[in-house]
Amino acid sequence: MNVFRFELRRAWTSATVWTLVILGLMAGLIAGALPVFLDSRANVEAMLSNFPPEFAAAFGLELDHIFSFGGFYSFGFLYYSLFGAIMTAVIGLDLFSREKREKCTDFLMSKPRSRDGLFLAKLLAALTLILLSNVLFIAESLALYRAYAPVPDAPARALLASSALLFTELVFLAIAVFAAVFARKVRSVSGAATAIGFGGFILSALQSILEEEKLRYVTPFKYFDPSKAFFEGSFDTPYVITAVLLTLGLLIAAYIRYTRSDVPAL
């Protein structure tokens, strides 16, 4: 309990700032740009009528999807995921490399607490922060959905779509915890977190441009697709399985390493 409280107290400020940034960005994007976006549909339709019918047919079907709350929501999702991934990576790296960075592993480990207990307390603290942040994110998403969607008749799907961020962040938490536990030295939490976050961002952008299905298996931002959740009420099963296996695998490996590794003297 002490460890849990200590970690929460140390990490909550940066988590709060990141959460506010994400919430502000989403509110700004949807309130500021969604109406303009929906109005531009006529413009796109006019252009499509100048193209050969097979183009229009292939693309026209998607128009209803693109020009809707869900379509617009998933445009911004790349950025919510970027900030969310950096936030989670900061939390994971910070909590799990704290003793390593401050060279006080022996201090913590010599307390009458099992290493399992310490690992779980840290993990629980990280999960608490991420869950709280996402409760706010989901609540705001649903509120914006009610206020700005032309026909807000599927709140259950909006709920599923907005929880995509939580699931994505859990994958990044596992990556960060794994990195923190296995790295010999963590010199800078923010440096490593920025690299992890932007790494995911670049992969995601690359996958969008190339539309290569195989690449999606290594692109955590694309495991949970909010537009798919909006229109079909589910995520893509193969990628969900990948995400679950990856998350559990990394966490179990980190757990084993954390509970068994030798503690360096300094």
Binding site: F75, G76, G191, T194, I202, A205
Partner: protein, 265 residues
Amino acid sequence: MNLFRRELKTGLKPFFFWSLGLFALIFAGIVKSSGAMSNGAFMTELIGRFPRIVVAVMGMANVDISNFGGFYAVIMQYAFVLFAVYAAHLGSAAVSRESVDRTYEFLFTKPRSRSFILAGKLLAAVVFLTVFAAFDLLFSMLAVRQIDVAGDFTGLFARFALAAWFIGLVFFSLSAMLAASFRQSERGAKAGNLAVLAAYALAVVYDLLEHPGALRLLTPFRYFLNAEIVELTFNLWFAWLSALLAAAFFSVAFFRFERRDLGAL
């Protein structure tokens, strides 16, 4: 000289991993480009019909993916981000590494001035940044051979690599300055990384404004515009601005580093 050689050796491993990332980005991007370019004219026209803000958020502002040059420019936008993050790492590591590792007492009691030591470290980092840009050019030239596209793109690749080097230099010097200005090394590193993130956000804002004007000065990611580079020009004004900024940031870094308290915080 000893210091310089040692710095090259310690920096080699991270450099290798960053190069691997760059390699993956460029190869995947170029080799798979034909699929994305096949209906590029349609996509470019389509994107033009969307409101500016959506296009900017998608990262597709002012691009024309109907030809190889325009498509390569999209890939390079992401390579610029890679350069910036790596450069921020190089800058803060050059200044703070000894403090983080608690080896500063060992190094700074040697009969060399702090400025001499910092200069050696920064020089080694510039070498890494330069080789990184050379790799960017090399990977691009190797990757383009794998696909069937007519024309010689060496000049285009070289201009983009040079632009990436200048962008990297600005972030490198900035994060070195920030690292030297904060007493706690983690605060300095955080400020450097936030600068990259903020500059990227400003670049998106730049894209979504009709007349961004002076905003361009604030974000190195827009010092070298795709359209300019694709059309055979290299913006010397902004190259000079980058060099000037770097010189200013480095001077502050040296000034602060000479006077700061060294510690393990």
